[in-house]
């Protein structure tokens, strides 16, 4: 018995919808991209195991402290007494108020300085802090 041969179907991938897909991806990446606003200071972060993710870059304020005790907020070197004013302004920003303060502190910084900074943060009502750390291997 002979079988009927199937008709040969032309196999082509439809490419007419490709630009649409690409555009969709493009728009996704355009919306999610947050350009770096500042570079911060050179710090070596400590390591820790019990670490949590930060909620997102938009509501986070960063404070850098390097091992020579420079304090930097938004690429400006500041002194400890100035932190209150800056953080208070950030906290009460009507557009996107700071919810979390990320402390990117070098591992050789002394606790006395950090305590002074935290005291300023408490004054400025920035109570949720995150000690930036690298995941320990």
């Amino acid at each position: 018995m002979e079988f009927k041969k199937k008709a040969e179907a032309e196999a082509t991938i439809p490419t007419s919808a490709l630009p649409d897909i690409v555009f969709l991806l493009l728009i996704f990446f355009m919306v999610t991209t947050v350009f770096k606003e500042f570079t911060g200071l050179q710090v070596t972060l400590p390591e820790a195991k019990q670490i949590t993710k930060l909620p997102g870059k938009r509501d986070v304020a960063y404070i850098w402290i390097d091992r020579t005790s420079n304090i930097s907020i938004d690429d400006k070197i500041v002194d400890v007494p100035q932190i209150f004013e800056i953080m208070w302004a950030k906290r009460n920003n009507p557009v996107n108020p700071t919810r979390v303060t990320s402390l990117r502190v070098d591992r050789k910084v002394k606790m006395g300085l950090l305590s002074d900074v935290q005291e300023e943060l408490r004054k400025a009502d920035c109570l949720s802090v995150n000690y930036s750390a690298k995941p320990a291997s």
Binding site: L18, P19, V22, F23, L25, L26, F29, M30, T32, T33, V34, F35, K36, P46, E47, A48, K49, Q50, I51, T52, K53, L54, K57, V60, V100, S102, L103, V105, D106, R107, K108, V109, K110, M111, G112, L114, S115, Q118, E119, L121, R122, K123, D125, C126, L127, S128, V129, N130, Y131, S132, A133, K134, P135, A136
Partner: protein
């Protein structure tokens, strides 16, 4: 006068996909998905210092050399986790009060904080260093 030939005016769309790809690649490369990670802690509000009963407090002191005194017992840093777990079994209302010297390194402080959190402590208080 010779009339100009009527030309069909069309915008070429064949290279549109290429342009879109180029922009896509650009955004793919500049997007940084890496999220910052760290130890989250809530500071007490100003003027919110509360008195806690003595038996519910466990003191952890760190000196300038990075040595740890846990309720008057010297404990190596990597053992804090176990001590915290034991103490929580005895009293689950325990608050761990972390106190450092002004000369203590931040690294040691984070290590101890990490250990206390690994031990399952939910209530951690940060005491101000002595001046």
């Amino acid at each position: 006068m010779i009339k100009k030939k009527k030309r069909e005016s069309e915008i070429p769309t064949s290279s549109l996909a290429d342009i879109a790809f180029l922009v896509l690649v650009f955004f793919l490369l500049t997007t940084t998905i890496d999220v910052d990670k760290g130890i989250t802690l809530t500071l007490p509000a100003k003027g919110e210092e509360t008195k806690i009963r003595e038996k519910n407090i466990s003191n952890i002191l760190i000196n300038a050399e990075g040595q740890v005194l846990f309720d008057d017992q010297p404990v190596p840093v990597y053992n804090i986790r176990e001590v915290v777990r034991e103490k929580l079994l005895q009293n689950d209302k325990l608050i761990f009060s972390l106190k450092t010297d002004r000369e203590t390194d931040y690294e040691v402080y984070v290590k101890v904080l990490d250990q206390v959190k690994q031990g399952g402590a939910k209530r951690i208080s940060i005491a101000e260093p002595d001046k």
